[in-house]
């Protein structure tokens, strides 16, 4: 059974159709990266999958239509890591990660020992158990992102939705976070659907890419098929060189060549 099966999914926000006829099929343990320029509809599509915006078309999570599932049922299947998570500065890291257990508790139920243990295990899986007692406000950007991921892991869903998970991190922290996601995927069989800005990272970590532009599907397939100089130029308006190596493709931005005829200055 597919974890996500989308057919002709559209989303209208404030009268504007920001996602239009998008389809994808994501199998258990797979990783699809949504790429595309700003405003392409990546985040909105993720929000539709998480049941946070109404949509038209068909969107199934583990065989059930998202719109027919209750809030808590969706939250048990899908954990979301937003692009700009709200970080309550005075909350402890452990308390924050325990919030991930919310869909597994009763309406207003309190977490028990088992939930605290699950939160600690999630922190351990992300190598940050030593941060458990720290205030969120005292963490570095990389540590904070791990705490957010730990909350998503503690949520214990099948699908992890990542919205630009590394956009605020330096290159080292970016790699560490994505390696952690890759190992979670390998060890726990997590399925990943991620909106990603960095095309090189998207191509190296995801199995398949879905290029959106103007809310529509512009291309999809294996990274080498989608990350071509021509497609990137057409949809991003960017001048790039695509380098193929053993680890996959790398997309290197190049300064557009200045027309030689034009007088300089």
């Amino acid at each position: 059974m597919s974890v996500v099966r989308a057919r002709g999914v559209g989303v209208v926000l404030d009268g504007v159709r920001v996602v239009d006829g998008v389809g994808l099929e994501l199998e258990r343990g797979g990783w699809i990266a949504l790429i595309g320029p700003n405003g392409a509809g990546k985040t909105t599509f993720l929000r539709a999958v998480a049941g946070l915006v109404p949509y038209d078309g068909s969107l199934e999570l583990l065989g059930a239509e998202v719109a027919s599932l209750g809030r808590r049922d969706v939250a048990r299947r899908v954990a979301v890591v937003p692009q700009l998570p709200v970080i309550p500065p005075d909350m402890s890291v452990l308390d924050y990660v325990v919030l991930g257990r919310t869909p597994h508790l009763g309406y207003a139920g309190a977490p028990g020992r088992r939930d605290v243990d699950a939160a600690r295990a999630a922190l351990g899986a992300l190598d940050v158990l030593q941060l458990a007692g720290r205030r969120l406000g005292s963490l570095s950007g990389g540590e904070r992102q791990r705490a957010v991921l730990a909350r998503a892991v503690a949520q214990d869903g099948t699908l992890l939705l990542l919205d630009e998970p590394t956009s605020a991190l330096d290159v080292g922290a970016q790699q560490q976070v994505l390696e952690l996601v890759a190992s979670l995927r390998a060890e726990r069989g997590l399925t990943v659907l991620a909106a990603m800005h960095d095309l090189t990272l998207a191509g190296q970590y995801a199995d398949r890419l879905l290029l959106l532009d103007g809310g529509r599907e512009a291309a999809s397939g294996a990274p080498a098929e989608v990350l071509t100089e021509e497609l990137v130029a057409r949809h991003y308006g960017a001048s790039v060189r695509v380098v193929e190596g053993e680890e996959g493709v790398a997309v290197v931005p190049l300064r557009p060549r200045v027309d030689a005829e034009r007088p300089v200055g």
Binding site: A50, D73, D95, G109, P111, R113, R114
Partner: protein, 359 residues
């Protein structure tokens, strides 16, 4: 017992909810409430003595064989005058502090107080109408608390309705703005009525500054059911307030029906606030300083802040009322003046000593 039984028992224990507050804090706050109540009963223009009041209280516990040392007059002062007033102080303090904590959580706004959505302006208008037009008590009941209660509920309902119609209940900023709008309008009407009826200005003013004078146990009896429903709902929702700390969107992605939780919490807090306002007027600052003081001591989780606010708010208001009754006896200070007089410097210290004052 088989191994399977042991496992099942261990599994049940692992699922049992963990308490949000330590036993020490719970006992400490319970002790504070008892001490405040005892002082409230013993001290006043006629000093009854804490020890004698304690013995009087113990004389009502069967099986202890303690004899009451109080005279008949003292007994009447204690049970007919002071005890209802202390009880009302406990109820109103608990309601205002817990409603304040709940509002701060549900609006993620450290400056939110129980009057944020127009409860004060609505209650003020209701009370002013009754006082200025000297309605009296045509039904045999004092109409001031009824009008204040109805005004508070209608004020918040109008603000909530306006906020929802604009922002679909999704944005806390829209709700707060709607509250400001409704409050400004109701205050304008109230001020106009007051201007037209200058002979009652002093009475209206006294009501607005708050007082805990009771007409006996009946006020407490009327306020108590509202207090029980309001505080039970708020305490029940305390963990959901923790989830709301990560914002509406993330709370929704964690499976919380945000708009419904907000409506229930606002409705419960409003019910409690309206009941408090009806019998005590507008008492400032309790809803802000008590929850913030508790956050400083035990951290920001509402699993601790809400239940502890109930106790500390109750004890704090009884002690404040004690100052009102004794500072310039036999005259009394308005309690709203004393809470603000004590609360403002305290809050200034809080602001100076903490990095952030988070909800």
């Amino acid at each position: 017992m088989t191994e399977a039984d042991v496992r099942a028992r261990l599994a049940r224990r692992a699922d049992r909810p963990l308490p949000g507050i330590s036993v020490a804090w719970a006992l400490g706050v319970a002790g504070f409430v008892l001490l405040a109540a005892l002082l409230g009963l013993a001290l006043g223009p006629v000093g009854l003595g804490t020890e004698r009041v304690a013995r009087e209280l113990l004389s009502h516990v069967p099986g202890l064989g303690v004899e009451s040392p109080l005279t008949a007059t003292e007994d009447a002062i204690l049970w007919e005058l002071r005890a209802p007033r202390v009880a009302l102080g406990l109820v109103v303090g608990a309601l205002l502090a817990s409603a304040g904590a709940a509002y701060q959580g549900v609006f993620r706004n450290p400056l939110a107080d129980p009057y944020l959505l127009g409860a004060a302006a609505g209650a003020g208008l209701g009370a002013t109408l009754v006082i200025a037009y000297d309605v009296g008590d045509p039904l045999g009941v004092d109409l001031r608390p009824v009008a204040a209660f109805a005004g508070a509920i209608l004020g918040v309902a109008a603000a909530y309705g306006l906020g929802r119609s604009v922002g679909g209940g999704r944005s806390t900023a829209t709700l707060i703005l709607a509250g400001v709008t409704v409050a400004a309008f109701l205050t304008a009407v109230q001020t106009f009525l007051q201007q037209r009826n200058t002979e009652t200005v002093q009475e209206v003013y006294a009501w607005i500054l708050g007082q805990l004078e009771t007409s006996g146990w009946s006020d407490v009896a009327i306020a108590l059911p509202y207090a029980v429903v309001s505080t039970a709902l708020l305490v029940w929702h305390r963990r959901l307030l923790d989830v709301l700390a990560v914002g509406d969107d993330e709370a929704a992605s964690l499976g919380v029906a945000v708009a419904r939780v907000r409506l229930v919490v606002v409705a419960a807090a409003t019910l409690g606030t309206a009941a408090a306002v009806a019998f005590s007027g507008l008492i400032a600052f309790v809803g802000i300083i008590v929850p913030h003081a508790i956050r400083l001591l035990v951290g920001t989780s509402y699993r601790a802040v809400l239940p502890l606010s109930l106790g500390v708010g109750a004890g704090f208001l009884v002690l404040t009322d004690l100052i009102c009754r004794t500072a310039i006896a036999p005259a009394e200070l308005p309690i709203g003046v004393v809470t603000a007089f004590l609360g403002a410097p305290f809050f200034a210290v809080v602001l100076r000593t903490t990095r952030t004052v988070g909800p």
